[in-house]
């Protein structure tokens, strides 16, 4: 019996109406994600990578085609698919602890369970000493850790990340990348990660999905066969970087011409 993919997209398309004009953000996307895979979506701006992610989250309703999770159509946002936003999206009036506990509490879990879940995931992202602090008192990297813990505490099987490290400084970004890979390899999570940084994609992904703009669509897929932990200075890594860079560069050239 064939294994049912955690996420499937068939001929998925999305057209937005903007000032009376129709803008086709995504056209005919086909993608299948197995449980436990780490997928990076990469492409220039306007290639529909964020739209694809938002369709998977259920924040948008597709214009054409369908998105399925475990074979069931995605009808709206839900705890099984947790999004980590670039701008964090934390609730500023809740402490770190209450932000992480928001999901379990929303779903009416018993008090003791909420407490245990919250503590476990705060510890997982190393914020034990900051559990009672409000988001505005945290650095960007710490906020993003809270956002990740919040999604995990909510039992997300599929973690959707929309350029989550894009607003962070280089040092923090690299550390969070390391931590994310570590977390992913231990937990069996499935991750769909949008980025425009080639190096980030190669470092993180099992499979890189390259997208191209005008209208946004999936251009090609590459299985990254480098063994982990990956060395960004190795020759193989550089070859991947060269290959993907030329691929992405051709999109710019095509667009300009």
């Amino acid at each position: 019996m064939a294994e049912v993919p955690i996420l499937q997209m068939h001929n998925l398309g999305k057209t937005f109406a903007q000032n009376g004009r129709a803008i086709e953000a995504l056209r005919g996307a086909n993608l299948s994600v197995r449980k436990g895979e780490f997928i990076c979506l990469i492409g220039a701006s306007g290639c529909g990578k964020s739209t694809l992610l938002r369709l998977a989250a259920g924040f948008e309703i597709p214009t054409t085609g369908e998105a399925l999770m475990w074979g069931m159509p995605i009808a709206g946002p839900g705890p099984s698919r947790g999004m980590v936003f670039q701008d964090y999206g934390l609730f500023p009036w809740l402490t770190v602890r209450d932000n992480v506990g928001f999901g379990p509490r929303s779903r009416g879990r018993p008090k003791q369970e909420i407490k245990e879940t919250t503590e476990r995931f705060i510890e997982l992202v190393g914020l034990q000493n900051f559990a009672d602090v409000y988001p505005h008192q945290l650095s960007g990297g710490m906020k993003q850790r809270v956002a990740i813990a919040r999604v995990l505490a909510s039992d997300a099987e599929l973690v959707l990340m929309d350029e989550p490290f894009g607003a962070l400084d280089a040092m923090t970004r690299e550390r969070l990348q390391d931590e994310l890979v570590e977390l992913w390899s231990r937990s069996g999570l499935t991750v769909l990660f949008v980025t425009h940084a080639i190096e980030e994609a190669i470092f993180l992904a099992d499979r890189v999905v390259v997208m191209s703009p005008g209208p946004g669509r999936i251009d090609s897929e590459y299985a990254i066969d480098l063994k982990r932990p990956r060395d960004i200075a190795s020759r193989d890594f550089n070859e991947w970087r060269r290959l993907l860079a030329s691929k992405l560069h051709s999109h710019h050239a095509r667009k300009a011409g």
């Binding site: 989250a57 259920g58 924040f59 709206g76 946002p77 839900g78 705890p79 698919r81 947790g82 999004m83 936003f85 701008d87 999206g89 934390l90 609730f91 500023p92 009036w93 809740l94 402490t95 928001f102 999901g103 929303s106 779903r107 190393g126 914020l127 000493n129 900051f130 409000y134 988001p135 505005h136 945290l138 650095s139 990297g141 710490m142 919040r150 999604v151 909510s154 040092m171 923090t172 690299e174 550390r175 390391d178 470092f203 932990p229 990956r230 060395d231 960004i232 200075a233």
Partner: protein, 297 residues
């Protein structure tokens, strides 16, 4: 390089440690040199007192030992204030009546304010979040809003008669608009991202109103409360100037007719002090409720 980079990272203090260190660094100097810290703490108080002291001095020298002066000197006003509060100096109709007037005014201020709160808060939330209500009510409110509260006074007297009810109505109106407008703004200006975050975490429908909209709107609602309460104190004097026997506005008006200017000024001072105290009280409440907000806590 990736590997060596990890080493660099691990030798650096983590950003959490840095934060703690930063906090310590800002706290320590104050503890070490208490004398300097004491001066820094006193400075705003001294500066805040210097200006009114200068004004008081000017008032004193401009009015003292000048029988023809229309304005009584500060000491006379102080004595009148004492007499109003405790009696024993003039022993006239006004002696020891301050608490009656103050209580009357305060009950009208807080009564009218509470009524405004009960109407404006739910109405503002409905206008802000329910399109039908907004389209139905908002245009009318936009037209009524520019009418000054004082312009309502004659009509209020016609409807509610001469008495405290007109004053309470005016306070209600005065507090109503700031609370309403800020509530509408607060519940409408919630970041869309927070709705997405809530719904993906399983918080949907009406639960979102209580767990997202309301807390997100709180700082704005709070600004409305503060403005509304401040305005209530402004309006109460106007409201009490016609036809009520008690209240700070009433004695100010009455004393003017009797040329008891020191009572007029005493009444003004009492209104100023209690308006200030009631603002401080609400600020204190805000500090508690809005500790999470960088612009309030």
């Amino acid at each position: 390089m990736r590997c060596s980079r990890r080493d660099i990272v691990s030798t650096l203090a983590s950003d959490t440690d840095q934060l703690v260190a930063r906090e310590r660094a800002t706290r320590q100097p104050i503890r070490r040199s208490f004398g300097e810290g004491g001066w820094l703490r006193l400075r705003p108080v001294l500066l805040a007192i210097a200006f009114p002291l200068a004004l008081l001095a000017f008032w004193h020298f401009a009015t003292v030992s000048r029988p023809a002066s229309l304005i009584p000197p500060p000491y006379d006003v102080w004595q009148e204030l004492e007499d109003l509060a405790f009696g024993g100096i003039n022993d006239d109709a006004y002696s020891r009546t301050l608490h009656i007037h103050l209580l009357a005014s305060m009950s009208r201020v807080y009564g009218g304010f509470a009524m405004a709160l009960f109407v404006a808060l739910p109405l503002g939330m409905l206008i802000g979040r329910v399109r039908l209500v907004r389209e139905l009510v908002d245009p009318t409110i936009q037209i009524l809003r520019p009418i000054p509260v004082t312009a309502w006074l004659p009509l209020a007297m016609i409807i509610f008669g001469i008495g405290p009810r007109s004053a309470i109505f005016l306070v209600f109106l005065g507090a109503f608009y700031p609370i309403l407008v800020n509530t509408i703004f607060g519940v409408r200006a919630v970041e869309p991202r927070l709705f997405e975050a809530a719904s993906m975490l399983g918080c949907t429908g009406s639960a979102q109103f209580f767990r997202v909209v309301l807390p997100a709107a709180l700082p704005s609602i709070f600004t409305g409360l503060r403005l509304g309460l401040g305005f209530s104190w402004v309006v109460i004097v106007v409201g009490e100037m016609t036809g009520v026997q008690t209240g700070l506005g009433a004695i100010i008006m009455e004393a003017r007719q009797l040329s008891r200017t020191e009572i007029v000024i005493s009444g003004m001072i009492v209104i100023g002090v209690f308006g200030f105290l009631s603002d401080q009280l609400i600020m204190l409440l805000g500090k508690r409720l809005l500790a999470w907000s960088p612009s309030h806590g």
